[in-house]
Symmetry: C2
């Protein structure tokens, strides 16, 4: 098979929408922009304007065709027209809101299966805030803020499952979420933690190298050499001990290879603002 | 590639060990028994005798070679001898104890990766109780007992990841765990719930059909047609609503195909006792 996987693009929320629109513009670029077609999924949001706003944003960025998939119930997820749109689209964009709306409404449905299959065939999938959390196999459903990892401070559940290599947290430094990302990793130090700041995105390419775009940073927590986690001995609200973590803080242009675990500062990219 | 995946065998705990030993005997059979080699992983247990007891049990069942992998820390998980044993073994058996010991000690290590790779190549992997919980991608770490699914009654985290098709719970009817299995599924109705009773096992074959062995039953919760989950709107300790679940209760000889979702009562098998 010559086809390769599409990009997987978790965004930290609150991406800049009025000026340079660096993150949204780059997603539009990889989708082909003037030749491309993007489907917007606003299921995470309860606000009727969320989906329409992103449709307008991508149209302003000169994407050829932009469609809203109006999915609010599980029964919307076998709509033939929506499935055809996903079959045809170059990119899918999932908005913010509540990631549990995405997992409870889309999980295990024909739309959910189509997103997984089409991403393997080349469809680019981006999500911001709740949409970013939902992308990976293991999703942070909710949790407490703060710098210290504690027992039971984070609730994990199955996400969409485009990649099992990472666990994503968003609004990362704005909401002081290092503790809950470390707690998520302490259960099973097999996944790489990605703490993504607002107006910042990880563009994970088909070869599993991510490149940072946007005005903030991405905190990469690599547990490959963790030699101890106390999660199995912790109790209610007590702090967790983890030793041997490797941490990278990357900004625009920085890269990290999820397979080799190598980070580079990379080359400066436009950050907007 | 002509090789097919090995069996995946979650066992509900407390399997009978003195008389017919139906579950352990059948695992020994598929591993080749008089020609076979089984490696025992007792990492979940803090009791030194647990691993030695299973080594003796499989030797009594005339398995040609049985070895204990003495893994108690993450640094044990790159031992070359242990990795060679997993490369050579026909089967691996993981004992009971605490599944968080398995995930915090083995997750993301060379031993963890070898188990995943070798199962894809044909290694049979069984686990009882904690060992059963650890087998799948999404693992029940702990939770509350009771028949009603409630918000936050169950804690999920990443397991070993041999299959992402099921979430396993064990000691199922003995500890009244239907509520927490339904709660686990309510986050994202994409995985099939397997509630496995004591002295009972699901032998999941390379074509993803499971067959029940042992004296108890397996409760299969299939969410393929779920049209509603209230998990995204629930709050602390409140009950969860789920509509459209399909439920099968299977006993010895019963089968369930994880792909077609078809259940059959099957043919009676010896249950021992």
């Amino acid at each position: 098979m010559s086809q390769s996987r599409g990009y997987i693009v978790p965004i930290g929320g609150a991406e800049e929408k009025l000026k340079d629109r660096v993150v949204l513009r780059h997603f539009a670029e990889i989708c082909g922009r003037r030749t491309g077609e993007i489907a917007v999924i606003a299921t995470a949001s309860r606000l009727p304007e969320t989906g329409r706003d992103y449709v307008r944003l991508f149209r302003d960025l000169k994407v050829r065709k932009v469609k809203l998939l109006d999915i609010h119930r599980r029964s919307d997820c076998d709509d033939e027209d929506y499935l055809r749109m996903i079959d045809r689209a170059d990119g899918v964009f999932m908005t913010g809101g509540d990631q549990l709306r995405l997992s409870t409404i889309i999980g295990g449905t024909p739309i959910g299966e189509a997103l997984i299959r089409r991403n393997r065939e080349g469809l680019h999938v981006a999500g911001t805030s709740a949409g970013a959390a939902f992308i990976s196999t293991h999703m942070i459903a909710f949790g407490d803020d703060g710098p210290t990892p504690r027992f039971n401070m984070v609730t994990l559940c199955p996400g969409l499952g485009l990649t099992d290599q990472v666990i994503v947290d968003q609004h990362f430094r704005q909401r002081n979420r290092l503790g809950r990302l470390l707690a998520a990793i302490s259960y099973n130090p097999a996944m790489i933690g990605l703490g993504i700041d607002e107006d910042t995105a990880a563009f994970i390419d088909p070869e599993d190298t991510l490149t940072v775009y946007g005005s903030g940073g991405i905190t990469v927590v690599d547990p490959a050499e963790v030699d101890y986690s106390s999660m199995d001995q912790a109790s209610q609200r007590k702090p967790i001990s983890l030793t041997g973590l490797r941490l990278h803080v990357l900004i625009s242009g920085g890269t990290f290879n999820l397979v080799t675990r190598r980070a580079t500062p990379g080359v400066a990219l436009p950050t907007g603002g």
